[in-house]
């Protein structure tokens, strides 16, 4: 995959990425897709709780928190800073 193995879980704080592929087998991942985490959407890793889990992502102004175990199912293409 052209995402170099990057997933939402590997995005650094403040880094943006565009979701390229979602491994949707897990019903909890499907639930996150209903909240808007689907292919083509740009997301930003906004914050993490202590220990780096759960993580908060921003998309179109709304914040969603998800656990690392779910974040790794979302493959992203990181967007270079300044874009």
């Amino acid at each position: 995959m052209a995402t170099n193995g990057s997933t939402l879980a590997t995005l650094k704080r403040g880094q943006k990425g565009i979701i390229r592929a979602v491994n949707a087998a897990d019903p909890q991942v499907q639930r996150l897709m209903v909240l808007g985490l689907v292919e083509g959407t740009e997301v930003e890793h906004a914050s993490s709780a202590i220990g780096g889990d759960p993580m908060e992502f921003r998309l179109f102004g709304c914040g969603i928190s998800l656990r690392q175990e779910h974040a790794q199912h979302f493959h992203v293409a990181p967007v270079a800073a300044g874009d």
Partner: protein, 706 residues
């Protein structure tokens, strides 16, 4: 006289005359400003009830305009018409008109948050397919403007085929236009269906063939996406036999191996992004106080420290602000009781009124200050968006004990009082998590345990210092810690046994911080108070009167006349049903080192644990120096018939452990019943906690005395 009956208007005709012109379902994402708008439109003309068989609240309000009387149903927030949680199932069932006891809506008021069009349009697009008259209220347009978002409402309205009314619910801007539009909602032409997903529409029309009654497209589409789930059986029943046998085939052809929910999200969000490109322009946002706060709490360490500060303030306020009010209620009901005796004399009737009814009502009302203050904070924190962030920050910690971050607020609230704490578990969407939290909450040291701890510690723990710490304070701290450990163990135990299940999904929306609307806060606060007084009040009151009767009857003439009031009360207590019960049950509590007096005080404390102090005060009030000695000196000098002390250190430690564990609080039991909708959980909690308390006290006494 018989003729006059003909002119009487039958009751049902009166209600017909007052009937509403239209029922409108208010639908929107969670946190879309839906409830603020609903409160703003209906004000105090609201009824809060429950949907049949579940603990989800139904909010129905009336909106009167010059031309119409409308019934507004504030539905639980939902992200999609494919329901996920219980709340979403209810929202969807009401929308489709298949909720028992709730009118099928004549129209939809869709609430769209201008600062979150992305998720909002995902839902609104599905609502458009309902083919019902529909109006969109675009809320929080002021917040959107401030953060630099410009929305072309005319274009949005054209793309959706639905009238769009921008409003600011907090200030009332745009509400008059919205009201008059709602009054004529039945004249609004249902929107044309948007061709977002043609393959789904074709599959739906295949199913609609030869159906026994007309089927709505939206329902058929949901049937295709969700499959023949329980709530979809209604639609399956309406299909023709041919369509029913085709269903599985049509679905697998449509979705192949892709999960339908995932396909639904992919297709509709792609459409939403297209719409956003056309209607939304983002100008560079200036740094608002909101984003500054968000930035601060976004860093893990300051965020977590901030959370503890906030909780410390809330906890402190619940204690410090409530105490004067609770003292005032206590003093008020005592004074009222004394006044009753003064007016009516010392009769059974005046005792029923004073000690039963007034004290009983007092024991309910006394919880109100704490509930109101705690809920004021919870509502403020929830409406400002902070509650979600607290859950987010504490998720990892709470997960280690088998719960999720959403349990933190109820748990901490329970240190003040388990009743509002348990009411606050509503924020937990997962049922297993919620019940585990409810079972753990009563172990937290509530303010009613504090006077008992204070009395026993002051009387029996020496006020010496251990290092720089005071031993009495240390024991009190130990009791708090003990409660926390017991609560956590209970939650772990529940999650490992009866409530075992998959880890709850954790997808939490983290809304932007916003200033709460005071009117909405006030309306919610009043609603909470009403619910508590009505539901819990009836049970607590009934039990208080029963305990009064047990302590009052049977009356005996054998009380020697020369006794002072205190001693006479003590003699009466000994030969009352309560005293007799204490004696009957004494053998059960004998291994814990309790005599019949302590036993009857513990029985009397069943409705509310703090009552135990009052009863101990009565039963140990014998002797001439009773008036001079404080309760703690009287307890210290209490002896058994053989002259040995009743309150030995092991017995006191046992009593403390018993009170740390047992669930002597009818208010809590009543609220567990209400929140779980079954007697099973309150009965289990009571038995479980009493057994643990008994065993703990037994061990302490037997090991300590050995």
């Amino acid at each position: 006289m018989t003729k006059s009956t003909e002119t009487r208007v039958p009751v049902n005709e009166i209600t017909v005359a007052k009937r509403t012109d239209a029922s409108i379902a208010v639908v929107g994402n969670p946190n879309s400003g839906k409830s603020t708008l609903f409160n703003r439109l209906t004000g105090l003309k609201q009824r809060i009830g429950n949907y049949p068989g579940v603990t989800v609240e139904r909010h129905i309000g009336t909106l009167k305009t010059e031309t119409a009387t409308l019934e507004l149903v504030d539905l639980p927030g939902t992200h999609s018409l494919s329901a996920h949680s219980l709340e979403e199932h209810i929202a969807v069932d009401v929308i489709f008109g298949r909720m028992e006891g709730t009118r099928a809506p004549d129209g939809i008021l869709a609430v769209l948050d201008a600062t979150n069009l992305y998720q909002g349009l995902f839902l609104v697009q599905q609502l458009v397919e309902l083919e019902l008259p529909m109006i969109v209220a675009l809320t929080m347009t002021d917040a959107a403007e401030k953060s630099g978002i410009q929305i072309d409402t005319a274009e949005l309205s054209a793309l959706l085929g639905v009238p769009v009314y921008p409003v600011v619910a907090t200030t009332g801007t745009g509400l008059n236009l919205l009201r008059s539009a709602l009054a004529d909602i039945k004249q609004v032409t249902p929107p044309r269906r948007i061709r977002v997903w043609p393959a789904l529409s074709e599959a739906a029309s295949q199913l609609a063939e030869n159906a026994s009654e007309p089927l709505r497209f939206a329902e058929l589409e949901r049937l295709l996406i969700d499959g023949a789930t329980d709530s979809n059986q209604v639609i399956v029943g309406k299909l023709s036999d041919a369509a029913r046998s085709k269903l599985a085939g049509v679905r697998s052809e449509l979705f192949e191996s892709e999960p339908p929910i995932a396909r639904d999200a992919r297709i509709r969000y792609a459409w939403v992004r297209g719409v956003l490109d056309k209607v939304q322009k983002s100008a560079p946002a200036y740094v608002s106080w909101r984003s500054r706060i968000t930035d601060f709490v976004n860093r893990p360490v300051p965020g977590t420290i901030g959370l503890f500060l906030v909780m410390a303030i809330v906890f402190q306020a619940v204690f410090a602000w409530a105490t004067p009010m609770m003292d005032a209620i206590d003093a008020g009901s005592s004074a009222l009781g004394a006044a009753v005796f003064e007016r009516l004399g010392d009769t059974a009737f005046s005792s029923l009124i004073a000690d039963g009814v007034i004290a009983g009502v007092g024991s309910v009302v006394i919880f109100l200050p704490q509930i109101m203050i705690l809920f004021l904070f919870i509502i403020l924190l929830e409406d400002s968006g902070y509650l979600a962030r607290a859950a987010y920050l504490m998720d990892r910690t709470m997960r280690s004990v088998g719960l999720s971050g959403q349990s933190i607020i109820p748990m901490i609230s329970s240190f003040a009082c388990a009743v509002p704490g348990i009411m606050a578990t509503r924020v937990i969407p997962n049922r297993r998590d919620r019940i585990s939290t409810i079972m753990a909450a009563p172990f937290m040291t509530c303010s009613a345990r504090l006077p008992i701890y204070a009395l026993l510690i002051a009387a029996f723990v020496p006020a010496t210092n251990v290092g720089i710490l005071n031993l009495q304070g240390l024991v009190l701290f130990g009791l708090y810690l003990f409660g926390i450990v017991m609560g956590i163990l209970t939650a772990l135990l529940m999650r490992k046994t009866t409530l075992r299940g998959p880890k709850p999904p954790f997808a939490l929306m983290l809304p932007e911080f916003r200033r709460p609307n005071l009117q909405t806060v006030g309306i919610q606060l009043l609603g909470r108070a009403k619910v508590f007084l009505k539901r819990a009040g009836t049970v607590i009151f009934a039990v208080a009167v029963i305990i009064w009767a047990l302590a009052y009857f049977p009356r005996s003439d054998e009380i020697p006349s020369g006794l002072d009031a205190n001693s006479a009360a003590a003699v009466q207590m000994e030969q009352s049903w309560l005293g007799r019960a204490g004696k009957v049950i004494e053998p059960v509590f004998e291994p814990l080192g309790w005599d019949w007096r302590v036993s009857s005080a513990v029985i009397a404390g069943f409705p509310a644990r703090e009552v135990v102090i009052a009863v101990l005060g009565t039963v140990y009030a014998v002797g001439d120096d009773a008036d001079e000695g404080t309760l703690s000196t009287r307890l210290k000098s209490a002896t058994r018939p053989d002259g040995s002390k009743v309150f030995t250190l092991p017995m006191v430690i046992g009593l403390l452990i018993f009170y740390a564990c047992c669930l002597q609080c009818v208010a809590t039991l009543a609220i567990i019943r209400r929140e779980t909708n079954t007697w099973r959980w309150p009965i289990f909690a009571w038995t479980y906690m009493t057994v643990i308390g008994y065993v703990g006290a037994l061990l302490a006494f037997q090991l300590g005395s050995a």
